[in-house]
């Protein structure tokens, strides 16, 4: 079946602009995760959604970052007033449930000029 998909694959934006990154998880997966992969920080957790529970936002680096998951499926990660240090690859993953194997999408490469 189809894996996790993300769009856009690449995004170039100017400092101060807002961006939205989209993730389509594997159908039927109740858990969805966002991670960030950057040169300076490696792979770091951002936010986790599990079913209808309140999301775990403990990894979001600042209040400029937010995410939502509509209808228990598609998720959007929004970065407001982007900064150059936001440049990274943003990865989405999904799993059948918490603690199950996480399947990753191809990522969105964000470049903030």
């Amino acid at each position: 079946g189809a894996g996790v998909s993300q769009s856009p694959s690449n995004k170039v934006t100017e400092k101060g602009k807002d961006v939205e990154l989209r993730c389509d998880p594997i159908s039927g997966h109740t858990a969805l995760y966002w991670y960030r992969q950057s040169l300076g920080q490696g792979l770091e957790f951002l936010i986790y959604f599990q079913g209808n529970s309140a999301p775990d936002k403990s990894g979001l680096p600042s209040d400029r970052f937010s995410a939502e998951r509509t209808g228990g499926s598609v998720s959007t990660l929004t970065i407001q007033r982007t900064q150059q240090e936001d440049s990274a690859v943003y990865l989405c993953a999904s799993s059948l449930a918490g603690f199950e194997t996480q399947y990753f999408g191809p990522g969105t490469r964000l470049l903030v000029l």
């Binding site: 894996g3 995760y33 490696g42 792979l43 986790y48 775990d56 403990s58 990865l91 996480q102």
Partner: protein
């Protein structure tokens, strides 16, 4: 706090030679350990997890709680093993988020 350490950024071996990618972790409870691999131009994918005790593509990893290690091993390296390898853990009660090491690039040469 939980932490995963991969001391080697790059490991270069000859084809047919044994491979050992090191991973050490710190976590006060009983973590679940994983190895993820990212081949060139491909997405991050699970290689193996310690609870399944499987051997995938000839790779194995044993959880050593005394040494808090989860080293990845393969007796004979193949060219197609060249990739970036990440060790990761999930701590119980941490909402199943993965904590990753910084990764080791394995380069298998002829």
């Amino acid at each position: 706090a939980q932490r995963v350490t991969q001391p080697e950024k790059l490991l270069s071996v000859f084809k047919g030679a044994p491979v050992e990618l090191k991973c050490n972790y710190s976590y006060s409870g009983s973590p679940e350990l994983f190895w993820y691999v990212q081949y060139s131009r491909q997405r991050l994918q699970l290689l193996l997890r310690h609870i399944s005790r499987e051997s995938i593509k000839g790779f194995t990893a044993d959880l050593n709680k005394g040494e808090t290690s989860f080293h990845l091993k393969k007796p004979f390296a193949q060219e197609e093993d060249s990739a970036m390898y990440y060790c990761a853990l999930i701590g119980t009660g941490t909402a199943s988020k993965l904590t990753f090491g910084t990764g080791t690039r394995l380069q298998v040469t002829l």
